[in-house]
Symmetry: C2
Subunit: 414 residues, 2 copies
Amino acid sequence: MQEDLSTTSLFKKRMSYLGNGDQYFYKEPLHITKGEDVWLFDKEGKKYLDVYNNVAHVGHCNPVVVDAMVNQAAKLNTNTRYLHEHIVALAEAIIESMPEGLNVCYFCCSGSEANDLAFQIARNNTGNKGCLVTENAYHGNTTAVFQMSPEDCTANQRESWIGTIPGPQEYLEDEVRCIQKTKDQVTKLKSHNHSIAAFIADNIFSSEGIYLPREGYLQTLYALVKDLGGLTIADEVQSGFGRTGDFMWGFEHSGVVPDIVTLGKPMGNGHPISAVITTREIADGFNRDYGYFNTFGGNPVSCAAGLAVIRYIKDNNLVKHAKTVGNYFQKELVRTIGTNDLVKDIRGSGLFIGIEMKDDTITSSTVEQLMNNGVLVGQTGPNNNVMKLRPPMTFQKEHADFVVQQLEKIQLNF
Amino acid sequence: MQEDLSTTSLFKKRMSYLGNGDQYFYKEPLHITKGEDVWLFDKEGKKYLDVYNNVAHVGHCNPVVVDAMVNQAAKLNTNTRYLHEHIVALAEAIIESMPEGLNVCYFCCSGSEANDLAFQIARNNTGNKGCLVTENAYHGNTTAVFQMSPEDCTANQRESWIGTIPGPQEYLEDEVRCIQKTKDQVTKLKSHNHSIAAFIADNIFSSEGIYLPREGYLQTLYALVKDLGGLTIADEVQSGFGRTGDFMWGFEHSGVVPDIVTLGKPMGNGHPISAVITTREIADGFNRDYGYFNTFGGNPVSCAAGLAVIRYIKDNNLVKHAKTVGNYFQKELVRTIGTNDLVKDIRGSGLFIGIEMKDDTITSSTVEQLMNNGVLVGQTGPNNNVMKLRPPMTFQKEHADFVVQQLEKIQLNF
């Protein structure tokens, strides 16, 4: 399969053949050929500690997940118009992990599809069209969900049914002002004849700069949205599957129960699978008026991967592990670079940590230098000045130590 | 993985856990546990000739595709922010199969995602919002693409930017009237301030009742849409990858070149992968204003599956095979049941055949009886009276004979 292409000619071909060929990380794109647990290897065999890719949730090429997928792929892969065990077992495992009442699943292929479906369900249930999202939210890339992603969708591309409201950090600073801002957005939507169908939030607020919302934020908003006749959607594509420690799902930290939950990225450890979970009542209404069928969604191979992931998390106590190692990692970061003038804040939850730096240039430079030193991290936030640390859940304390060591080396050059 | 659940308790759990649990084929759902080439096997080991599932394009569990996927899954599965060979090799293979100028690919996970992206691209390129589709078209299930699917989206759910136009059969009957109808829809859209962004069609017109468009239909429409400033989208999710014989892509039968092509279902032989292909100029405009990133889209495992499928088709001359066996199959159907009073028409192209019957009740009954006799076929068309025969591309003449024999047996009971 053209394994002998040089990196240069591969790059040239990529830029020519792909519509979005320029969307690579780093000044010079990495040519990655192998993955193993928390490590990625480039073509020359150089190894990188992966502190960024949450899709490989239980480790790159986790043999338990690969085996489950492989065995099923050789046996049967077809659509859900026939009965099959795996989709039922996966739905059962997901429902068991959810608050009571969230007991119905739909399966799709991507987080975007899941959020798009969740929004269709919310519009159907409420009869309303409007949507509230936080000011720098990202929820995906379909026509509808792009609108719900102000991180990408600029104000002049935005349709009149979207209202953007302050994220958890601004709420902490001045709750009264934020509630007023939110109400103003509702009024603006109403002036366009849009009532609220849904409020959707990723509950680690990743693109807002990585915040686990403090006491009251989601409670206040959920109550407000309910009053307005809208549904609440918890987008767990980023915060789900134990990532944030303590709980399986991000919304649990806030003690709220959403009307709809969406799952994506980590769900199949890289295999394209996603899901929407809601109540029987909401689902029945949607099925009566619309219905939903997804050719690939919920196929036996996708569900084998999904089942293997959810069982691996449970069997290996990875939710607790994320908390233990995440706490250690944050503490070590605070101890070593916490007082550096270039570091403004270190925050997050479990194995989802943000390091807010002085500005985007310093952040980019740090991300690039860390890569040169064999550590892969990301960059996010409205000002692009937050380093995003979001490794596979099999990340250990020794890996945290390695990151800290490399960060300390770079500190010298700041 | 709960393999010991009885079919009854599996069914009960499915209905309880799945939002769309009732979407199974047949009065009593089949409990399928194994697939092999053109055969599916139920829990009791009864075998069924699969004359319906086009997703298992090169045969259920084709070992070449499974091996390619398995090997890659054990090695690396990550997103396209890094360089990798497979996405470039797959893009190259697709581009080679396309008319000149269609030389840029985007990768997604489902046909719905591909059609949604194609429409975003068309809207961006034209600055228009309107869309023309045929009157019973199906293009998928995102918020936007559901609108483009009048088969599912009822007139009262339809937004003002959708115009529905006659399919190829009505065109054949009265072209002048159909062109007028099409122009009327354009006028209706304009009255809502919508100019045409795109005309999208599945080029075997599956949900219209399975028609390979006759001479002139697509040419006339493509010229009209171009005049109106819109783009043409060929949805090859159904007709693609050699399915219709003679050509790799359905639109080639009509000698037209679309602005955008979308691929889906058969592309990964069941693995969730899809693509959008367009020109460099159109892609560059879209990337400048919007851009598109899909976490799972184009990952090395998906691309390994896609590459294996496209190579298998080529290595085994399956396009020619679809033509040969398809022609034989149609001829045998005409010879044996063609004069039956209940059969109104037998049509299609390659291994995509429609048998139009007297009414939907007779069609349902035939589909159900064929299943009992070990043959799986589908049902489609605006009046639900067309039997859909769309087997894996590895379908042989002996399989066609088996279907014909079973149909003849049922004829006795008509």
